[in-house]
């Protein structure tokens, strides 16, 4: 179930094997490797290697976690990176995490798919380890389900809803119809977005919830959206579903009378959709490879680790979180970090963050990483200079405004 490929582990084994073979002790390589591994910081990437979210997380997340380890360099302790596929199933993810924590893994990274993230969140707390979340969307990770062992790095449903919805209402899109994936993530995204639309003086004219993941054709829902006469079509879904919804909307001419709002969409989805169909879409991310000199430098450094693809937002989050975690470990010493996940996370919160992907920022008491959110518009084919040149920056929301205010999340760490 778990595939373990390690960067340094293999090298360690080989080294230990060579050393002991030289000494003529055939039985020792295993013990030798283990003895060395006991001093090492072990980071496990739990991600979607085989499903819907593979392209936005998966191998890219592993590659950028390894990039963080490489950029961190040698500071007196070894770092190992492991990887596993959670198949988007909470039980599988929880099993891997439990097993890894018992085998001395200190931190788990990425955890896309909200349901899996929430399951592993409990286990990390129970075992007093570190949960560095990049891939999950649910804002509950820093709200009712917040934990002293967790850092939620990259984005969440609140930030997506605020950045995109506010911009569209400002542009005059004040009446909305939602097409929503009928599960926790879709409901949360629709709820958060509706709140912002109403808060900005707009209105929600209707919604339709389709069965997830069993729906391939969205034309029936598009027809309902059209007959609602709303100005904006809010798509509270993700990945292939969003791509199919947009393709259908263009086919049925919705884009002429309605503005399309993709509430969760990334570079990989745009590539799948094609610029022809995607041009003019507004969407929000916290990282884009071509955003500034630092992101371009990171992209250049990590080239070849995941084919010809530049880092997407979630892998970039794995990079930032891993790098900051390692800095905290270096400051407090690996032994102390291994002893207590809460202490390691507290140290992370105490230190200011700075990395090439997200720039300067900090981690709040509830575990929320604070950095700016960016509103992008998808380029027209004529404006694009390369296969990955897909966004124009429209607006930036400063970190303090981009995420849910500390007091509104309902996190128990704040009340106490």
């Amino acid at each position: 179930m778990t595939t373990q490929t390690t960067t340094r582990r293999g090298a360690l084994m080989a080294m230990a094997g060579a050393a002991t073979a030289g000494a003529g002790l055939g039985g020792l390589p295993w013990r030798g490797a283990r003895a060395q591994a006991a001093n090492a910081i072990r980071i496990g990437v739990i991600t979607d290697m085989s499903g819907l979210y593979r392209d936005t997380t998966g191998p890219g997340s592993v590659a950028l976690t390894q990039q963080a380890v490489a950029d961190f360099g040698q500071r007196g302790f070894q770092v190992e990176v492991l990887q596993a596929d959670h198949q988007n199933r909470p039980d599988v993810g929880a099993n891997i995490a439990r097993q890894w924590f018992d085998q001395g893994v200190d931190a788990v990274v990425d955890l896309p798919t909200s349901s899996v993230a929430l399951a592993v969140n409990q286990i990390a707390r129970e075992k007093n380890k570190v949960h560095l979340n990049s891939g999950a969307a649910t804002s509950d990770l820093t709200g009712p389900q917040c934990s002293p062992n967790t850092v939620h790095w990259t984005y969440d449903t609140y930030m997506l809803a605020k950045s995109t919805a506010a911009a569209i209402v400002r542009q005059g899109g004040d009446s909305w119809f939602f097409i929503t994936a009928d599960y926790a993530f879709g409901h949360a995204l629709e709820r958060d977005t509706s709140n912002f639309v109403r808060g900005a003086g707009g209105q929600v004219l209707g919604n339709t919830r389709y069965p997830f993941p069993a729906t391939t054709d969205f034309s029936a829902f598009l027809l309902q959206a059209r007959s609602s006469r709303a100005k904006v079509l809010g798509m509270a879904n993700a990945s292939t579903d969003t791509v199919n919804t947009i393709k259908g909307a263009r086919e049925f001419g919705l884009h002429r009378s309605m503005k399309l709002a993709a509430l969760l969409m990334g570079v990989m989805d745009i590539r799948s959709l094609g610029l022809e169909a995607g041009q003019g879409l507004l969407l929000s991310e916290t990282f884009y490879w071509d955003l500034n000199d630092r992101t371009r430098a990171l992209t250049a450094r990590s080239r070849g680790r995941n084919g010809d693809r530049p880092p997407a937002m979630v892998p970039a989050g794995c990079y930032g979180a891993t790098l900051h975690f390692l800095k905290a470990v270096a400051e407090m010493g690996p032994a102390a970090a291994k002893a207590s996940g809460v202490e390691a996370v507290n140290r992370m919160k105490a230190m200011p963050c700075d990395d090439d992907a997200f720039g300067p920022g900090q981690i709040r008491a509830d575990g929320r990483k604070i950095h700016p959110a960016y509103l992008f518009e998808v380029k027209a084919p004529s404006e694009s200079r390369g296969p990955w040149d897909v966004y124009k920056l429209v607006a930036a929301t400063p970190g303090e405004e981009a995420f849910r205010p500390l007091a509104e999340g309902g996190c128990a760490l704040i009340r106490s």
Binding site: G58, Y210, P211, P213, F221, Q224, T240
Partner: protein, 363 residues
Amino acid sequence: MDAIFGIPMPLLFGQLLLGLINGSFYAMLSLGLAIIFGLLNIINFSHGAQFMMGAFVAWMLLSLGSAEAARIGLTLMLLPLVLLLLDWLWQRLRLAQPVRLGAGVVVAAAWIASAVFMEQGGPVSQALGAMFPQGLSYWWALLIGPIVVGASGVLLERLMIAPLYKLDHLYGLLLTFGVGLIIEGIFRNEFGSSGLPYRIPAELSGAWDLGFMFMPVYRGWVVVAALILCLATWLVIEKTRLGAYLRAATERAELVQAFGVNVPLMITLTYGAGVALAAIGGVLAAPIYSVNPQMGVNLIIVVFAVVVIGGMGSILGSVLTGFGLGVVEGLTKVFWPEASATVIFVIMAIVLLTRPAGLFGRA
């Protein structure tokens, strides 16, 4: 009256039409399944993967000039066709079976190795790129897609499914299920999970304003194409000599063989034809759905339900049920959208309880 149960009439008409459009996909796919089940008694669980392969061939053909992955992919997809043609040639030269098998393995190994390990995908993919720098259009894909994917089906039947005829049906089901998973896994590894772009061909883009709804030209074309395919298949099976042989072989294969008909060849070609139908469905779907490795998975579960409701192996049954269930599903999306994925299985349960052989099946 301009509303029924609070739903405006124009919306309702629109949904009926959309139901027919979706139904045409169900009909096309269940037709292939029904044919395969009728003659081979095999429930072809790799049908969804073969549908997906059809869509990918369309993308590869269009991207021949621009993407190396497309050139290499198409080179590998052409291998079954090349092997079948070589085998046919060798048979004409009266080579012995072990010799042909050995030579086939050598050719396949060389072909795969050159595409995977050589610079820029080896000579074949370079030639493909040089010959078609603009790629091949949708219309070529409609022709080439079913041939290429159908050939892979023929090879699959000869090498893996044929040895299982002696065993229980379950083995065929498990084999095709496994093969489907492997194919989807390979495509996911090579092309990722988020899908590839494919545009509606210029000739079929645009829409008609019907008053009560916008009718995209392409969706209209899908319905027409599906009707033509279904009608043609039905005519071949019911009205031609070949169809008569097929129907006879379904009843009593030994007897038909005794009359000098090459039944094993007919079975192989039937499987290939069923797979080719799935591939045409895939090519038709490429412009409107995201071309990704999972695209067949959700559709195929519904299509199996369609085949069961229509009556396993009944061709007319699958076609009518396909269109009918498309409409039922479309109406459910208006009145109770959350249940639109479930309604088909509820109907399946009711039909199985009252008519275990399906609506059009013979008990």
